[in-house]
Symmetry: C2
Subunit: 206 residues, 2 copies
């Protein structure tokens, strides 16, 4: 019997929506595995290679593209490249875990096309004012970057209907419970449990 | 603004699958309301009218059918009638709660036809042996009835693919967490939150 295809949980949301904190809530679950993305953007001071990203050169990234090693990849702001290596899907399959992808809208659409059973969660800020407040509080961005992030947030959110679930992150506790519930419930979909159900039916004589 | 249509959570499963205990887990949630079914079957010793069922006469039941008062109804074992009055949907709408229906496969199919957004959960026993053990342990049924219940369980389970979710009740704690997660996750479906998402988008200028 081959290991079943892993459940793939996509989490997207604008920068500052609290998406990464909610991804943390997902990977607290014993059933999940986080895919580490590759990127050509330079690491921030606090970032170690291999924790949230594998930092690669543009040349390395393009070689991986040429070898077809990405489940999805995209260029952001016409500048840095981001991609999820397909090997994470193999690892999740081998470990019988659910694979969590923290990726943007472009990437989510690519994954949904390749893996129609993937479950896509969109994290929304409660309002523009709150998102702007959070981005400013982080203190990492110039006025120009803040404007660009807010405009990008708006554009990303226009794609909400490509997602299965929406989590409004106005209360981190509640939003955390919601993403965990989405993961747990998705494991219970009939389509993911046909084999076990048929085994039970067999015990009844079919 | 009209109250949104209630989320309807259908729970089905063979007698002895632990379905009623899992329904209890659902109605522990502050967001849910249990629909009380009407039935023409005689109450068991432990049953009060109005807690799990409203016990009615065959004539009363048929009058309700004639007045179109049921969301779903069916005859079980060609003998007793069971039905869910539509008024529960109105109550759930008014209270802005999710409506929980503990109904059989025939009823579930009727509700899914009328309310395609309803979420249907099928509770399965882990095996025939375990179901038979539980039915015998209850000590309420004759050998004939036990045989009939097991055969009916098999027939009900053949309809599993009409359901959205399957919960195998081999561990009540885990199964309870699963049904609660299904309820919570279902509230997060994008289709149920369009209005809130559009309001957030409006704050970004549309």
């Amino acid at each position: 019997m081959n290991p079943p295809e892993p459940l793939v949980l996509i989490v997207s949301g604008p920068s500052g929506s609290g998406k990464s904190t909610l991804v943390q809530k997902l990977i607290e679950l014993p059933t999940t595995l986080l895919a580490i993305s590759c990127t050509t953007r330079p690491p921030r001071k606090t970032e170690n290679d291999g924790k949230w990203y594998n930092f690669v050169t543009e040349a390395e990234f393009q070689e991986m593209v040429a070898r077809g090693e990405f489940l999805e990849y995209a260029q952001v702001f016409g500048k840095n490249w981001y991609g999820t290596p397909s090997k994470w899907l193999d690892q999740a399959r081998a470990q019988r875990k659910d694979l969590v992808l923290e990726i943007d809208v472009q990437g989510a659409l690519q994954v949904k096309q390749k893996l129609p059973g993937a479950v896509a969660i969109f994290v929304l800020p409660p309002s523009r004012a709150e998102l702007e407040h959070r981005i400013r509080a982080r203190g990492q961005d110039s006025e120009d970057e803040i404007r660009r992030r807010l405009e990008r947030a708006r554009q990303e959110m226009l794609n909400y209907s490509s997602y299965d679930f929406a989590v409004v992150n106005d209360d981190l506790e509640r939003a955390g419970r919601e993403v965990q519930a989405i993961a747990l419930a998705s494991r219970c979909r009939v389509a993911r449990n046909e084999e076990q159900i048929r085994d039970i039916l067999k015990s009844f004589g079919g």
